[in-house]
Symmetry: D2
Subunit: 425 residues, 4 copies
């Protein structure tokens, strides 16, 4: 961003980085040597907005193995390949702890609890389409690249170390095969799983990948659609309840955005329509989440009210002017602003009723200042227009930008045009 204003978000990230880099709590993961001996001073922060702008601070371009964060993207690919129902025949959607001294599957179904734990990710690896392990992995790798908007490397050393430390995951795989939830062979499934964990990403990549989830599947840098909006929503939903291990519930209370962390110290979080965020610092807390990444997320969530269930504040009245009438044309005008969502439709309908309760036969509905038209808005509006038509009213929709929101109405670009239409009628 240019020199005048600069990037206020980046300034916040820099300040935060400065403050939290002195937090030395936690331990690097002891799972494999590469992670254990990672430089624990590393600390990167990055945010990517749906328009593709990335703000970053610290070591945001240092690469590390993506580890469990890959689970979100493999789940996305499995959903794309198979559909929600078919995927969840093999893996549940319920949060669950995964204690070290026990392995458990759902009692009646034999499914692992959800796709964000190792057992569930092994299942989604197997569900990804592909002739063999190589092809499956290549497709997952390609999907992660498409989400990051650039080529991603692969850490051979990490992969070899993971192979040497894979007994617990092999145990899970065999256990699930015995229970019928894993239908593929164990060895190729392990290959796919461990390879996806060894893909190299930077904190900046995580921010873009998160933004791809936040935009409903379209990479904001490349403009390419990577997966459908429905898949993005499913992935974010499961991340919301299961992404942060045993801390998922508390994370949702205190931060409130879907997230997934990995044992290398990475963390991805995203808010639909708002942003993707990447964080990275190798030292983990007792639940396996990066100490600094969690602290930074909480700070930003507080500062920016990022919680997904935050009530939007400072609403304008939805109906801008409901009194206007053009009695000369037997027409009433209702001008709406903001979003056509569930909550606002009631007011719109009341205004329409009020305007038309006189003998006006024409409704001019000015949507020019409407920001977003949700599906629920369309449906309710359509219901109202159908009714008006039944009562022999005519409806003129004024919208400079949108067409075809509802059927059965005349569509014009401006109020002037609407008035002309009324006059010509």
């Amino acid at each position: 961003m240019a020199s005048l204003i600069g990037d206020p978000i980046e300034r916040e990230l820099v300040t935060l980085h400065e403050r939290l880099k002195h937090d030395y709590r936690g331990e690097t993961s002891a799972s494999i040597p590469t992670l254990e001996h990672a430089d624990h001073r590393l600390f990167g922060l990055a945010v990517c907005t749906p328009d593709g702008y990335v703000s970053a601070a610290g070591d945001a371009d240092v690469e590390f193995s993506v580890q469990s964060i890959s689970k979100a993207f493999t789940y996305a690919l499995a959903l794309s390949d198979r559909g929600l129902e078919s995927v969840h025949e093999h893996v549940g959607a319920e949060p669950s702890g995964e204690a070290f001294s026990a392995i458990s599957l759902e009692e009646e179904t034999g499914r692992p609890d959800n796709p964000m734990i190792n057992a569930g990710a092994l299942v989604t690896c197997a569900l990804v389409s592909g002739a063999d392990a190589h092809e499956k992995y290549e497709r997952i790798h390609a999907l992660m690249e498409a989400c990051a908007g650039r080529s991603l490397g692969f850490d051979e050393t990490v992969y070899e170390e993971e192979q040497g430390a894979s007994d617990r995951n092999r145990a899970l795989a065999h256990f699930m095969r015995s229970a019928g939830s894993l239908t593929d062979e164990v060895d190729p499934t392990m290959e796919v799983y461990l390879k996806q964990c060894s893909v190299l990403v930077s904190t900046r990549d995580l921010a873009v990948m998160g933004a791809t989830l936040a935009t409903g599947g379209v990479n904001p840098l490349t403009g390419d659609r990577v997966f459908s909006g429905t898949v993005a929503r499913h992935v974010l939903t499961v991340m919301a309840t299961c992404g942060m291990y045993d801390y998922s519930g508390e994370w949702l209370l205190t931060v409130g955005t879907p997230a997934k962390s990995g044992v290398s110290g990475g963390l991805i979080t995203a808010s639909p329509g708002q942003f993707g965020m990447g964080l990275f610092s190798p030292k983990l807390d007792a639940r396996g989440n990066s100490v600094r990444a969690v602290a930074a997320s909480q700070d930003l969530a507080d500062r920016y009210e990022l919680h997904a269930l935050t009530l939007p504040g400072g609403n304008l009245p939805v109906v801008r002017e409901s009194e206007e009438r053009w009695p000369e044309y037997g027409a009433g005008v209702v001008a709406v602003q903001g979003d056509l969502v569930f909550a606002s439709m009631r007011g719109v309908l009341s205004a329409i009723e009020a305007v038309l309760e006189s003998s006006d036969r024409v409704l001019v509905l000015d949507l020019d200042r409407v920001t977003r038209v949700h599906q629920v808005g369309e449906r309710i509006l359509q219901g109202a227009i159908d009714r008006l038509e039944e009562h022999d009213h005519e409806v003129v929709i004024v919208d400079g930008a949108r067409r075809g929101i509802v059927s059965g109405a005349v569509e014009v670009e401006s109020l002037d045009e609407a008035r002309e239409w009324c006059a010509a009628r």
Copy 2:
């Protein structure tokens, strides 16, 4: 609603009621005689919008004991009385199954898993302020009435039956006392708990109570604030992950709004800023949720895209006109529309930069069509304005409705007034 358009939402509810009333799957709860012998044909649906309008269908005015749905409101009261941190010293926030043949608490802390299961609700009952059981219960009852916007009855028979079937809950209470998470006596805690379960509500009440959560704590019928917006968000968050027993994860995938169900067949769900919904039908599925209430919720969620993580669609460009300049005054105009949220601020800043990159010293920022200004928007905007001031720029905010969003800017009501200000400068 008046005769012309009628209530399209209610029409949908009526259609849905008509269709699902023939679904006879499930069983009434066998926990107490009153529930076991409830009229299983009953089926009520109601939706309440933040403006307080209730649409309803079926048996929406039949009263039934609120049962576990009360947990959400007792949790709200405990949060109001004690604060988040203090409450969660005694109860966790992680989802968990609660198998019939075992009782478990968090291993290290001895806390019950979350406030939406029986054990957790016993703890929140104890945490509600009050000299004794009577006062605690009266306060919970009063809060539920404040949320429903009317007086609520109490079912003596249900209470007595619950007392006679309370061994499992007494077991939980004593177990938690032994673990230190329940600090109150068992008998008064049980009294409070069983009484709150015996409060009588209708489906319509549930919709209004849900809307009170959806509005951030303000009853849309009475306009009274019942609890803070933060408390409402906490309650909705925990409902999102823990409200539907072992079905919570799947509910979130397929419906996607915070919810709580009860053994009497009631279900409450809410979407922040959008709606509260009540549903009721006595027959339960294997997980203890009302069969028809779940089916109806899924239908409505699909039809209306109610999922909390749904990406808002059909956005207008955030910057309405960025080219306009008043070179005669050395001023550039940026007109913004929609919401000032995280995602939109980047575009606003870019437009400001673009406008000011010539020698203009005055920025006229037209927020008149801005629907909502989120905190994140305020913060980023303030950061930009501070920078502009440092570079000796002046900022004029045009907003017909809002004042004081940022400091350090001239505030006017219209573009005309802004132009006058520039001219007079």
Copy 3:
């Protein structure tokens, strides 16, 4: 014992006491103040043989609350009152850990795992016959006195402290009532349970009580039968697998005798037909067993080969003389020694066959040196005699001490008498 030889067992106990009294590992139980502040230097040892002789060392006459050791005797009384099958409808017989952070019952039956854990003991308390809590407790107290052979006191302070620290047990009681395994009311059941724990015993008492189990239910001091041999065997069996908490399996490997420990530091162990042993020292290990009591038991088990599954060594041949014949009377003589058990009967039969394979028609079976005749010996012997009678052989049993072991044989007191009988035939 008199001065000449003295009591070599007591000398061993004294030596052991001397050596282990310097073992200060472990902690007194923190469950109630009386136990927590017990004098941890106390250390008592006592052994009682089936003939009622007690050897003791250290603080064998100091009294302490019997705590969980009472469970063995309440179980004995419940078995006496109701029978094995009826008792185990309500409580299982399988070993199980009882973790602090969870309470569990058998999945399908809702029974507690076994009568040696708190949950199971609450059930057996309820199963003891008696009009009310007072009568039930009095009967348990009386049974313990009958086993100890003297009046036993009651510690009011301990009882009151237990009442104040009974939440976990009340939780268990309510949980079992909800599952149907506890059919009595919770309050009286708790009264019985906590009172039986508060009975005062000495280490010497434990030895005698153990000997009462070891003798099959007859108190070796008083000669009174307290319960049946079958009940004694059932109690010892359940003690063998469940008596030492999570250490039961290792105890059985290293010590090998049925045992029950208590939180006050007491330990009772017994070997059928051999001995009862009491041990006491207040400091407990991590599994809740007295550190010194366990150490002393292991030492004694090693030294004396007390393991219940130890192979008896140094056998004499079972058939003493099989060649002897009185051809003049057409008679063969088989003289048997040792025990008539499963293992020895084959040799007895072979000897009989060998002696009779000539034309002898009379079998003289000399059992005079037979130590014990087990039921299996009787049955097999009877089968053989029946066969011989079918083949027109006659059988003369020589036994100076026993009569009526088998039917269909002539019984005489000595070989001389047998010879006379043959001669007179």
Copy 4:
């Protein structure tokens, strides 16, 4: 056995077979095709006494795969190779259920619960000495042959089917490797484990193998020592608490002898010094134990009082004559019969005191009728003799069969010889 008396045990087995062969409850194991399609009418019974005589009935010579019964023998071999302590560093000794939907290890140690469940048997397979899987298996196979007293076959088909159905066990193996309790590689460990399960045995073999455990490790047919008495005792102890899956506790209550069952329908049980028993019938109950084998065992246990904790009945007085004196030689005579065990020593000592309380200086101790001298008897006797020597008494031991039981005493073969010794003194 010869024609005259015949074999009364075999007659009982035949009768039992006749009666129980009409019990068609249960299902064959569905684990592999060979077991699922086994001829469920097969039913074999066999008992082997320590003298090597085998009584059998039904299909006692039909061969089947030994399955889990092999676990007892692999544990025996691991104990022989490594010792108790070293083996139990890697595997526990506590009973435990093994639910299908979960896999668990001991929380702190990561050990499987005991060597009789699959997880524990994998560990003992790995602990058996041998350069590779082949050698380890050959040693286990050889040990089973040594216990059976003949060459045992191997079922290639079963082994292949087991390999194809080994996912759950592979899961266990990998899980234990991840926890550190399994130190060997997974593939060779699986090979050893599945091969030992595929060894072919008959019911008669099981009886002999059981008898080898019952005799303390000596095969009664071949006379060869296969493992030590201590190993045999350890194996029997763990079988006693863990051998019958979730039925172990109830089995011990109702049958009372150490046992191990397998999924092919085999069951081995043994009583130290008494017998080994084999039973076989393919249909299993819900806990995985052969229906007919359990029923037959219970019948025999009731009929023959086989319970390991049964009180021996019909004791003779331990001291045969204590009054005899040879005042002419200053000698008193104490004649003992039965077993020198803990319980009997007290009476022996009292008799010695009584005899010597006059001025007699010589004790003649007649052990000629003593059946067995336990270690505890030796120790106590030695203590007494040491005391007598300190008081200048002399001791003459009369024993026709044994030498060197105690030191410091004159040993003679008969009372006559003792009298001569006294006279010559």
